[in-house]
């Protein structure tokens, strides 16, 4: 089964690298990852699609949570969510095929965002199935270029992957049991 995992991360250099490095190193199979700003400056939200049949999703969330820059991770697959993906499709269009393409675009509630003498760019949002079927239908006309964002998702209503409430970082570690040498006066 495909799982949708949402993570809230600190916007620091290399954070995307850390996440993708983790997936590679642990052999997690990731199908898509989408990142962008969140509602709070300094934090980004990531949506990842993971194949639960080949990857231990529980480990994915736990290992992600271990990254210092990751504040919150949730597997929202079983929640009531809104999930969307955006695609841009550049499709070959001649005078003869153009109107047929426009009809298909209308049925899918997609938009034509660029018109050139021999091609059109179509913008479509929806779930993966909708995008897949549109792509399939347009294949016959000749797809010249295709770009998909991967899924972004959000829980409906109250629930959400939000910044946890302020809990102060404990400033002193708990007492460690190894033998500690006598602390000395520090006079820099």
């Amino acid at each position: 089964m495909k799982h949708t995992i949402v993570a809230l991360v600190e916007d620091r250099p290399g954070v995307l690298n850390r996440v993708s490095s983790l997936f590679r190193r642990r052999g997690f199979n990731i199908e898509s990852i989408a990142v962008g700003h969140s509602e709070t400056p300094g934090f980004s939200r990531m949506t990842m699609m993971v194949d639960g049949d080949t990857t231990d999703v529980d480990q994915v969330t736990k290992q992600l949570y271990k990254l210092i820059d990751v504040l919150k991770v949730s597997d929202i697959t079983r929640e009531d969510i809104v999930a969307r993906e955006l695609a841009l499709i550049k499709v070959r269009a001649t005078a003869a095929t153009r109107s047929e393409i426009i009809q298909i675009v209308d049925i899918f509630r997609a938009n034509i965002v660029d018109v050139a003498p021999d091609s059109l760019i179509i913008e479509v949002t929806g779930d993966e199935d909708k995008l897949d079927s549109l792509v399939r239908l347009l294949k016959g006309f000749g797809i010249k270029e295709l770009a998909r964002t991967g899924r972004i998702a959000m829980s409906r209503g109250q629930a959400g992957v939000l910044i946890p409430e302020e809990r102060p970082t404990p400033s002193a570690p708990p007492p460690r049991g190894r033998k500690l040498p006598q602390s000395r006066e520090v006079t820099p």
Binding site: R18, G177, L180
Partner: protein, 562 residues
Amino acid sequence: MKLSGANILCQSLLKEGVEVIFGFPGGVVLPFYDALPQYPQLRHILVRHEQGAAHAADGYARVTGKVGVCLATSGPGAANLVTGIANAYMDSVPLLAITGQVARPFIGKDAFQETDITGITLPITKQNYLVLRAQDIAQVVKEAFHIALTGRPGPVLLDIPRDVFLEEAEFNYPEKINLPGYKPTYQGHPTQIKKAAKLINEAQRPVILAGHGIILSGAYDELKELAEKAQIPVVFTLLGLSSFPGQHYLSLGMLGMHGLAYANLAVCEADLLIAIGMRFDDRVTGRVADFAPKAQIIHMDIDPAEIGKNVRVQVPIVGDIKHILKDLNPQIERRVRREWLRQVDQWRHEHPSLAIRETDQVLPQYVVKSIHQVTGGNATIVTGVGQHQMWAAQHYIYDKPNSLVSSGGLGTMGFELPAAIGAQVGLPGETVWAICGDGGFQMTLQELATVVQENLPVKLAIMNNGYLGMVRQWQELFYNRRYVATPLAGPDFVKIAEAYGIPGRRVTSKAQVIPAIQEAQSHPGPMLIDFQIEPEENVFPMVPMGAALHEQLQGQPQKVKK
């Protein structure tokens, strides 16, 4: 007052109570080295290879519980730290690695000695930073120490460009840190602890599986209380050794691939396994499907990601081991457990895994046992990786808390000498014995110069079998005794020691073993003993790769030779 980045770094290290830096200089860290003499409280120990700096900092951290600090220049210096950082990461050792980087305008230009060390160490550090402004150094150092030492400890790397060392900024050491994504759990969940207590109170054949986490959290007394109160035998992971007195009647020694027969049998027959501060490494479990087949498992660890990673457990408890055991122990009922302990004793009797056969030759097991005898168990033992490591784990009885320093997770040959240096620096006035492989010792023996320069009284026991012994053992058992690339035409270790100014002794018969150890022990400075041990001695018991713990080979004292 404005200070240079180099001064800010030194001041920040002092604020964190740093006393020692193991380092090696180079072009981009020159501004740091130039500032260093202003801080005589920061002792710098010059190693002979950066790998040695990382392992020494690792050994220092393990024996003191403090963050070990190592430092290297950019490019090759930083790259040479990598093995040591990976080693610390695998064994949850708090380490701060500081590397110089090329000046900011040169980053990304393939400048001389530029290497992307933050990229390289991404998967082997708990966190790393490229510090791009002198004004950030203090904050980053504060965070680095906090991250390295708290939760599940681990290495943190700071990469500092040359011009950031020179840039001036205000120095105010921060009081607070703000890491919203980092909140380790210390207190175990009360409901889980209650469930665990119930299982323990109902168990007939419980076994405690003691790991490194007990030492890291200093839960010696709590573990002892639990074991004694409920009369539960204790088996150990390699790094769990010395978390509970080895002489104790409940102690069964190490389990796993080279675990003692009765330790492994106890785990196989247990109806409850209480796994404390350990992570079910494959060397511990053998074939996972058949691990502890009759047992329910309670797993306590501070790292939630370890729960359920390798083994399915019934009662997970996430938290600091000391905290968890403190909460658990009052709920444990006192028990007398005659039947189970009698069974365990019977296994001890039937499978004397620690018996050493009679011979005039120098047997490694006897050497280890003699080191224990001569030091009265008061030494800190540091090992390399291979057969000698396993003999050191089996035949030395670890009574003293936290008295074994060994490379567990990564299994890094060459760890022994530099780690012993770090341990000795952390334990001045105490006895440190490094039990070395003749192969591994040759990977880092240049650090003998560091031993001499710093006048460290470490005792070095080379277990000289003339082989990469552990690999040879596998070749003997599983590759028809084809010894490919494992015989070592060794150097004369006594002469090597003497060339560095360290007295060396050679031991070729059993009768010489104890006198040599006694001489080294009473010698005020460092000493090396070249123990010419039986070349084809094997480590037994042994659970072959992919086998289950109960399928262990007990070994043949008399080997069939071709």
